[in-house]
């Protein structure tokens, strides 16, 4: 069919020009064997637009909607007053408005006054940012930094940094697998799929306890072939909110060392989980202190509210400075055909905030405030549910979990009930984002959860 239409097209086209040499204007449609030819006048000559034959995209289906962003869309479409958006993990104030950190505004004003230029960053990103981010993660006096064993490359927030790490694995460890927690952030799978890195899961969430299946986790890590990359959430596990204890982290490190695996941390909530930057980085620092070689992806989307600026970093802590240099050069080589060099704006904001002592202190205070609000909301939610629910179910997991999210233990039907009956928008796996919850709405949410849990199966 395509060739038939093409031949008609070429018959109409004179051999010396790629357009019809008709002088008069002609507007209309001609149907030819199912295809449509359109005639339109343009700059004094007739050109023929063949509407159908050259489309390559016949077989291209709609991609599945992103489950998390789809929630926000559905929420926006809902006209009910009592609706609540507990889908995306983006911080909201008590008034449920987006929050721009004061330090960010101050940093941006400084940048505007200075009239910073818009030149390309080097492939590895802004040097001041890279230095600041590695020190924030590991501590400025960390031996790994002093010994120059840390290769840091600015990345496009957590996703972009993870993708760089995945690309490094694909190139230098072909065939190696990544072990990811069950469940994990949905985009982890997409990232490794598109980077063509095979993955499988280790047990993590125990629905019976709504807590960590530690034994299962250790078993699965042990069972993986030697040299597997183990993806770990540094703090505030997404989506469950369930983190290992410090003792459990030690054991996880033990088994990873025994099996010669390589740990790959995703640190998206440093400072946001407990309110303390150092405390939230404890797991990563533990591994590095043991002399292990570690990959770490960082994001400033949540802790600096820079979601839309796409600022993060990929760090590789290796055993020597020489090897760190080599690895950094390869990370750059992988970034070049992805985007050439990273965007400058977010990097400057972070570098200014972290690099200016007054701003840095202010940031720490704001972060404590944000983390504190979430802790308060957790407490209020727990109190509301406990007082309303007389069934004797243990809801204390709400308090034990940490970070923006809570795995409620609700199944898909129950989650649907939350949305359909109560206009509470959340993901189908039972995850709610406490960042989108206000103290004022805790009672309402408690009612919704209790109803969904007990009355829907």
């Amino acid at each position: 069919m395509a060739s038939a239409v093409l031949s008609i097209a070429t018959q109409c086209v004179s051999p010396n020009a790629s357009s019809l040499s008709i002088n008069e204007t002609h507007k209309g449609k001609a149907k030819l064997g199912g295809s449509t030819l359109r005639f339109s006048k343009s700059s004094g000559r007739i050109s023929m637009t063949v509407a159908v034959n050259v489309s390559r995209f016949e077989g291209i289906p709609m991609a599945p909607p992103d489950p998390i962003l789809g929630v926000s869309e559905a929420f926006r479409a809902d006209t009910n007053d009592v609706k609540l958006n507990l889908g995306v993990g983006a911080y909201r104030t008590e008034e449920l408005q987006p929050y721009v950190l004061n330090v960010v505004k101050k940093a941006e004003n400084l940048m505007l006054e200075r009239g910073d230029n818009k030149e390309y960053l080097p492939i590895e990103g802004l040097a001041a940012f890279n230095k600041a981010t590695a020190e924030l993660l590991l501590g400025a006096d960390n031996p790994a930094i002093k010994e120059q064993r840390v290769a840091t490359v600015q990345g496009l927030s957590g996703t972009g940094s993870l993708r760089l790490g995945a690309a490094l694995i694909e190139r230098y460890f072909p065939g190696s697998k990544v072990l990811i927690s069950a469940p994990t952030w949905g985009n982890h799978k997409n990232i490794f799929n598109d980077a063509r890195v095979p993955w499988s899961e280790y047990r993590y969430y125990d629905p019976r306890t709504v807590g960590l299946d530690f034994e299962g986790m250790i078993e699965d890590i042990k069972a993986a072939p030697e040299g597997t990359f183990v993806l770990l959430h540094g703090c505030a596990h997404n989506p469950t909110g369930i983190d290992p204890t410090p003792e459990q982290w030690e054991k996880i490190a033990d088994v990873i060392q025994q099996k010669n695996h390589i740990p790959f941390f995703d640190v998206a909530y440093q400072g946001f989980a407990s309110g303390s930057l150092d405390e939230d980085a404890a797991s990563v620092r533990l591994f590095v202190a043991r002399g292990m070689e570690v990959l770490v992806a960082q994001s400033y989307s949540k802790n600096l509210g820079l979601y839309a600026e796409r600022i993060g970093a990929m760090n590789v802590i290796s055993s020597s400075s020489e090897s760190a240099t080599r690895v950094k050069s390869q990370l750059k080589r992988l970034a070049r055909p992805m985007y050439s060099n990273p965007p400058v704006h977010g990097a400057r904001i972070v570098a200014n905030v972290v690099g200016t002592p007054v701003l840095f202190d202010e940031w720490k205070a704001e972060m404590e405030m944000m983390a504190g609000r979430i802790k308060n909301v957790r407490q209020k939610l727990y109190d509301s549910i406990s007082s309303k629910d007389k069934s004797g179910k243990d809801w204390s997991f709400i308090l034990k979990q940490i970070g923006m999210f809570s795995y409620t233990g609700l199944n898909k039907n129950q989650s649907d009930n939350m949305t359909n009956k109560w206009h509470v928008y959340m993901t189908k796996d039972g995850r709610i984002s406490l960042a989108g919850l206000s103290l004022a709405k805790c009672e309402y949410l408690a009612d919704a959860i209790i109803d969904s849990y007990h009355n829907v199966s």
Partner: protein
């Protein structure tokens, strides 16, 4: 109990020490140092050179009279206006949609049929590189056995991008080193001889690295041949407005193809024409048959982007959207762009004249014949000291993403470096956006000397002899 504690203590200490020495087995032993980027190496040599009057012609971003990076004034205004409160996800995606619409209007024309009817799938991308990469991954997903046909030569990163997307590359004839112009016949032959339905990458204006572009008639012929063979044209448009100073003129090739009924793909970059290098603003658009297909293709492109970086950085997108949708700002931008383009054109002409005046036996006509084009690989960092220096090595501000294929051979390039402290890309490409008269003069001397030393005729300039 004490024994247990002591046991644990010693065991732990020993284990840690053992691990510290053992970790030297090195996961990354097999990771080699990446080959150095040739332009970056030149830049590093330049920086290391203590000679006070050194000149760097390798990289290319625009500089003003004082050698400072130049940001169009319209951006200062736009920056001040950006209100960060608008950055919630809702508005983020709304801004993105607006941005895409303004971008495609720019590329395809305000009154373009495809834009009016929504017959395109468009997504913001991480500048030109990101747009090309998105398309390459998309190509791989849906045409896994296809190749990409790249012009010879092309921006080197094109090769990296498609290779990283695991798509094999084939090149087609483009540059004729003898004429320093377009090898049109060979190009047409390659188009004809490629298998039907091949995917080609084309530079619609300001070809990078050669600066050599097709004429309008040649474009029409290429479009016709593409129709005959049912090839897919993918345009990498990184210099719209910058090449001739006129946005519509620079997009003519793209629009010829669209008029002829091709459903093209197009990567746009706002790095050069808006000076937004560091903000990584670009757009990928793919024309489709109907809006349903547009939605499907867009969803697939978004999916690929999602696995790479989730969403693009908003700041640059906000700037561009603001400027393109505000008629006053847009006019201001167009004016500033014309100034930059004209300045480069003037320099080219001056350089050519100076070279001819110096009576060099080498034919420099190709300098003005080449379109003020792009070979934006890197920055020409010339510091401009016209008023301080005469007839000697001068620093000239240069931020040319306009590039000149000088025709100098690698050994001549090295000669220039050693003798005159002039640094340029090893293949003889130079960028210059701002070469003042005297700078030109000096520069010409440099090159004439090279010619004389090597293979060409004598340089008779007395001023040269005085140096």
């Amino acid at each position: 109990m004490i024994m247990v504690v002591m046991w644990r203590y010693f065991n732990g200490r020993t284990a840690r020490r053992f691990v510290s020495t053992c970790s030297g087995h090195g996961w990354w032993d097999k990771v080699r140092v990446a080959p150095k980027n040739p332009i970056v190496s030149v830049n590093e040599s330049f920086l290391a050179d203590p000679f006070p009057h050194k000149v760097n012609l390798a990289m290319g971003t625009y500089r003003d009279d004082n050698g400072k990076p130049f940001t169009p004034q319209c951006f200062g205004d736009a920056e001040a206006k950006i209100n960060r409160y608008t950055l919630e996800e809702t508005n983020s995606s709304e801004v993105s949609s607006k941005f895409v619409m303004e971008s495609v209007k720019l590329a395809y024309g305000n009154d373009s049929f495809v834009v009016r009817e929504g017959l395109y799938a468009g997504v913001p991308a991480l500048s030109g590189t990101g747009a090309c990469r998105l398309f390459a991954e998309f190509q791989r997903n849906f045409y896994p056995d296809s190749l990409i046909h790249l012009p010879d030569p092309t921006w080197p990163n094109h090769h990296n991008i498609w290779r990283q997307a695991q798509i094999p590359v084939k090149t087609f004839h483009y540059y004729d080193p003898d004429t320093k112009g377009l090898d049109f016949d060979a190009l047409i032959n390659d188009i004809k001889n490629a298998p039907d339905s091949s995917i080609f990458l084309l530079h619609p204006c300001a070809h990078n690295p050669t600066g050599v572009d097709s004429t309008e008639e040649q474009w029409r012929e290429i479009s016709y041949q593409f129709k005959v063979k049912n090839h897919f044209p993918f345009f990498d448009m990184a210099y719209q407005g910058f090449s001739s100073g006129d946005l519509d003129k620079d997009a003519a090739a793209l629009r010829i193809f669209v008029e002829d009924g091709h459903l093209v793909g197009c990567a746009q970059s706002f790095a050069k024409n808006m000076g937004l290098f560091g903000h990584k603003v670009g757009c990928l658009s793919v024309l489709t048959r109907d809006i349903k297909q547009a939605a499907a293709v867009k969803s697939q492109l978004q999916h690929i982007a999602h696995s790479m970086y989730s969403s693009p950085p908003i700041h640059g997108i906000l700037l561009v959207t603001m400027i393109l949708s505000d008629p006053n700002m847009k006019e201001q931008w167009k004016k500033e762009m014309k100034i930059m383009a004209n300045r480069i054109r003037a320099m080219r002409t001056t350089l050519h004249r100076n070279l001819e005046d110096l009576d060099s036996s080498f034919n420099w006509e190709h300098i003005t014949n080449q379109v003020f084009g792009v070979v934006i690989l890197h920055i020409c960092c010339f510091t401009f000291c016209l008023r301080k220096q005469i007839m000697t090595l001068v620093h000239v501000p240069n931020s040319g993403w306009h590039v000149l294929f000088s025709g100098l051979a690698p050994d001549q390039v090295r000669h220039l470096e050693k003798l005159f402290h002039i640094y340029m890309s090893p293949d003889g490409r130079i960028r210059y956006a701002y070469v003042e008269k005297i700078g030109n003069q000096f520069f010409s001397h440099g090159r004439c000397d090279t010619k004389q030393c090597k293979l060409f005729g004598k340089c008779n300039s007395s001023s040269y002899k005085n140096q």
